[in-house]
């Protein structure tokens, strides 16, 4: 290797960096495993919160409102959110690697992780965002189908509805942008794999 003594060689710089001893004792590994269990539980509770709010909101809506069309839409949103709990959490981000991870190369693993993330986005959109939009639609149904009296009653909600629309739009735009970036990344990895097969 050239210029080892100059202190300017990247390999020398990299390999000579000061590091602290880092091996974990088995006791530390046990502690880490317990922390990981707790983290997975917390993450799961976090992902349940939003759909749970939709379920409660739709249930209340179906019970309170008299309009049969409105009640039907609330019931649909409720059923959608409940079904979403099952589909959304299949293969969700977990705090651990798959057991066979070390058998896969960096390229395969990276690609799998990106596809998983991309798939998760689609599922969030379908099973979490969808029921939320439908539940809000059910609440706003009388504005579209009702008379002037109903529209008047909803006038006070305009600031809230405006904020809600901005949040929903923002959420959607950010997520779609992220999805495009993931797609580009997948295409780049596809090119590398094609090149490898040639």
């Amino acid at each position: 290797m050239r210029n080892d003594s100059s202190g300017n060689n990247p390999r020398t710089i990299w390999q000579n960096q000061p590091v602290a001893p880092s091996a974990m004792t088995l006791e530390a590994i046990r502690r880490k495993a317990r922390k990981l269990h707790a983290k997975t539980r917390r993450e799961l509770i976090g992902t349940i919160a939003a759909p749970l709010a939709v379920i409660v909101f739709s249930g209340l809506g179906a019970a309170i409102f008299d309009d049969p069309r409105q009640r039907t839409v609330f019931m649909l949103a409720l059923a959608w959110a409940v079904a979403g709990q099952f589909f959304l959490h299949r293969g969700m981000w977990t705090a651990t690697l798959p057991g066979d991870a070390a058998l896969t190369t960096g390229l395969e693993f990276y690609r799998r992780e990106i596809e998983r993330r991309s798939d998760l986005f689609r599922r969030v959109l379908r099973w979490s965002f969808g029921p939320l939009v439908l539940a809000i639609g059910a609440l706003l149904l009388p504005i579209v189908t009702g008379g002037a009296a109903e529209r008047g009653a909803y006038r006070n909600m305009i600031p809230f509805l405006t904020l809600l629309a901005v949040w929903l739009g923002g959420f959607f735009i950010v997520r779609v942008r992220q999805q495009r970036q993931l797609q580009r990344e997948i295409e780049e990895l596809n090119d590398i794999e094609r090149e490898k097969k040639r």
Partner: protein, 182 residues
Amino acid sequence: MGGTASIDSGDTSQDHLYRNAADQYGSALERLARAYESDPDKRRDLVQEIHFQLWRSFQRFDSRCSTRTWVYRVAHHVAASHVLRERRTFSRLVNLEELDTLPDKHQGQSAADQRMNLERLSVLIQQLKPLDRQVIISYLEDMDAASIGEITGLSPANVAMRDHRIKNILARRFHAGGDHAQ
């Protein structure tokens, strides 16, 4: 959660494999974590996570590949997942080709200070996408093209091309390194 159930059963073979790997590659894993995480606290967590997943992975170690390849694969996988979770977006990460066109923020400063050079190098690596990061870390750890290919899954030609780019970038940024002689 798979894998953690056997923690209390004390699988000695798994423990033995882990201890050997930690002794042999502990420092390399620390360096690898630096390439993926700049925040010292998060880096400490990442190192612990790598060690934990490494210990866990040895339940399935079947000598299909060398211990070194196994250790680096697990470490890179954990670190790449960390990047994906933390960054949430790829917009700020670049590949080697794009990195070559980015300005060096430290250009013009004295390169004599070892710590500053390490900082420059770390910043450079942390801008890269995970796959290119794997290649540059392996290169800096003195691995040959075959080993890099085994860890990353890239073809020999692809590794050679990336290796060449890395050498050029490093030579330009550090004026002396690059190791063209190899």
